[in-house]
Symmetry: C2
Subunit: 277 residues, 2 copies
């Protein structure tokens, strides 16, 4: 999916919501455990009840891998289901991969050929040749970790370069702009650092930002929009637990839909305030 198509979907749905499919077999409603593939069945119901309010879905690979090859099978079925039933959706593999070029090539093959994801999250530590293989696919995206929402972000991401005075996450933002464009790169910026979004927008005015950490992790949607929205919206705000575990009973899909709708309605207002719709 290209940038224009993503923006169009945002305008159509009046939403920039990404639903995180952090589907944990230990947390899904018990009645699903009798089905042949509980994880896939849960995802299918969640997707059908929220797709009207969301522009993107983001399965986190850890949850699928924890079930071994059966988990990968549930993931593959989820991707096929989205492609078949909801072809307008932007699909993100939250995989945080990154290896030497030879190996990153294979990860790109995995997520863009074997599975038909639109984007994959990548860690920047190993530099350019670990990231660029993901950019050789037209209309596919790298989403590079810049400033994450967890406590450990403080360990290395704020370290100040002696020469430039830039913090590591700023260096990542600046350096990586030589590797791709706003048409094939996005950045992960945690919502718990909303005050940092303004600075980040000065470095990357045009790139989409994938913003986790709203809701369960404590970030504010309003602050994110105020500091991070650009003329093409430029934001995908992720919510996982607040939506997919809104209820763990028979009505889980309905409640997930309601939770997604609530966020979409807030987003509608924010898009109007920015005069994008």
């Amino acid at each position: 999916m290209n940038c224009e198509q993503l923006f169009q979907q945002i305008l159509n749905k009046r939403s920039f919501l990404c639903v995180g499919l952090d589907t944990d077999i230990l947390k899904i409603p018990k009645h699903l455990l009798d089905t042949s593939d509980p994880v896939f069945f849960f995802n299918k119901e969640i997707i059908d009840s929220t797709a009207e309010f969301a522009v993107a879905y983001k399965p986190n690979l850890a949850f699928y891998e924890s079930l071994g090859w059966q988990g990968w099978q549930s993931l593959e079925k989820t991707v096929h289901y989205v492609r078949e039933k909801h072809p307008d959706i932007f699909l993100i593999a939250d995989a945080k991969r990154g290896d030497i070029g030879n190996t990153s090539n294979l990860y790109a093959r995995t997520f863009f050929e074997k599975l038909d994801f639109d984007a994959v999250t990548v860690a920047p530590y190993m530099g350019e040749d670990s990231v660029k293989p993901f950019m050789s696919y037209p209309e596919k995206w790298v989403i590079l970790l810049a400033l994450t929402s967890n406590k450990g972000a403080a360990d290395f991401q704020y370290l100040k370069d002696g020469e430039t005075g830039d913090q590591l996450f700023e260096t990542v933002l600046k350096t990586s702009q030589n590797w791709g464009t706003a048409e094939n790169m996005m950045y992960v910026v945690g919502a718990t650092k909303a005050e940092k979004l303004k600075e980040i927008r000065q470095i990357v005015p045009d790139h989409f930002l994938l913003v986790p950490g709203v809701g369960a992790q404590g970030g504010s949607l309003q602050e994110v929009a105020q500091n991070g929205m650009n003329s093409q919206c430029g934001l995908l705000v992720n919510s996982s637990r607040g939506i997919i575990y809104a209820s763990n009973s028979i009505d889980f899909a309905k409640k997930a839909g309601e939770a997604a709708k609530n966020i979409q309605q807030e987003m509608d207002v924010l898009l109007q305030e920015k005069q994008l719709i």
Copy 2:
């Protein structure tokens, strides 16, 4: 496996060789493609013919994931095979994972419970809470990326901290020592940076180092041993392509065994020079 057991295996086999199972379906001998699981069959033969000369195996996850759930199945079968037939082997998941604590917990569950690996490689960018979940398993190991062997290593790993004067990889080495011990942490240090090994040994005298980049990537085994070996050997040197693709014909396993033996014999000499055997 604990540190003492690993060292004992090194002494027994007179080797600190790790064989990288970067098994690419496009590169394995054609006659294997008729079997029910070519990747597993290839691994099985490679392992049987090299286990006498190697103390560790390191499947790189990218190669398995590129085949989807069937690839994960081949990986799981490989792990079970090693555990059953070669119980003394140290098994490394070269996965380069790392995510917020909640998610890293699941990756730890994947590699240490669902699969019975001894160690997993982890990227440091997201800091302490992305790494520590892997350390809550007794006799299991994190292998943290410090200085990698690829060109992109230069993009961020050498950045000099304005306050301490340390380069990023040095900060990673120093900071992460507060998270674990030489009994549950190792570091990845690329062999193409052999001259850096001496400096790194001063920061982490006791930790095992996993050293990729010998052979195909150009590093020298002798230099690595001279600069990196400690009183418990402290090195696992990885070779992938040079061993597993020594031949791509019917004699591939035999040739892999010979290639592994050649390296083991060099290692034998180096261990003697260090008076460890």
